[in-house]
């Protein structure tokens, strides 16, 4: 990274503020559509942090996969599950939230003391920089070849599993009767599809 030190510090501060604010919005806002859009903000600011960490390729992959695929998938999920229901209030819900908040603050305190107390062996050697892409490619096809191939098998399994889980086996009764309409995609019961239509 060829930026000056001050520019790096300022952009780190701006990105950190953006990331924390948007992630708090994801967790705390009531409207889930706002949460989904703010989640895109979290992903984009994290990819900015990756650029500060001299990793342009992973930053681009982060934007492509998270904002382009995962966030859009979550938005589709929200639209498919668009039931406007008010959740029935649970008794003493604030107690659980307060306890969770205390536990999370404690975890953060523990982690931050650990981070600040550890003497990290910071390397002062050369930085890969723009050659990182070549290095990642070498890793993928030499010492991380087996995880790389397993990842492709896992993606195929996830694809098939998602289709099998989300596929609607049959339509409810009132929709089965109206399948002779044009421009609809009939997904009838299996035993109905095998019988000849009148």
């Amino acid at each position: 990274m060829n930026l000056a030190e001050g520019v790096q510090i300022v952009s780190l501060g701006v990105l950190a503020f953006l990331m924390l604010a948007t992630s708090l919005g994801v967790v705390l806002l009531d409207n889930i559509v706002y949460s989904a859009f703010l989640l895109g903000g979290v992903f984009i600011s994290i990819s900015g942090l990756y650029i500060l960490l001299n990793a342009g390729f992973v930053a681009a992959a982060q934007i492509l996969i998270y904002v382009g695929a995962v966030n859009v998938l979550i938005l589709f999920g929200i639209m498919l599950v668009n039931k406007r229901q008010d959740f029935t209030p649970v008794r003493n819900a604030w107690l659980g939230k307060a306890a969770t908040a205390i536990v999370c603050f404690g975890l953060f305190a523990l982690l931050s003391t650990m981070v600040l107390a550890t003497a990290w062996p910071i390397s002062s050697g050369p930085i890969a920089g723009d050659a990182a892409l070549v290095e990642i490619g070498k890793h993928f096809f030499s010492d991380y070849l087996l995880p790389f191939e397993l990842a492709s098998v896992l993606l195929l399994m996830a694809l098939i599993g998602a289709i099998v889980l989300a596929r609607r086996e049959f339509l409810p009764e009132e929709m089965v009767d109206s399948t002779d309409e044009v421009l609809t995609l009939p997904e009838r019961r299996r035993e109905l599809t095998s019988t000849p239509r009148q």
């Binding site: 950190a16 967790v27 889930i32 994290i46 996969i65 998270y66 979550i74 498919l80 896992l154 599993g161």
Partner: protein, 101 residues
């Protein structure tokens, strides 16, 4: 000193993600909180890769793997949420008692 900034940031993101994971009642928000957790972990990995291992960058390789797994996880998770929504007609986490005994 900059490594600590990134680690603290990742720790804060992780704690926010855990808070959302435990307290949210919409099942899709739980999936979003899991994405926040995964992003906190990858931010840690990238910081270590840049400051402790800048020439061999194994952390970036692991980050790419984590991003891959996260994409698969969110696809399967949303499929499970859709299938539960069809069967139970709700996405309220308090009303899912499928795995209780």
């Amino acid at each position: 000193m900059e490594l600590q900034y990134f680690l603290l940031l990742a720790a804060a993101l992780f704690c926010i993600g855990i808070y959302g994971l435990v307290t949210s009642r919409n099942a899709i928000r739980v999936l979003m909180s899991i994405e926040l957790l995964l992003n906190a972990v990858t931010l840690n990995l990238m910081a270590f890769s840049n400051y402790l291992d800048p020439m061999v960058i194994r952390g970036q390789v692991f980050t790419v793997f984590v991003i891959t797994i996260a994409a698969a996880e969110s696809a399967v998770g949303l499929a499970i949420v859709l299938s539960i929504y069809r069967n139970r007609d709700t996405v309220d986490m308090e009303q899912f008692n499928l795995l209780k005994w």
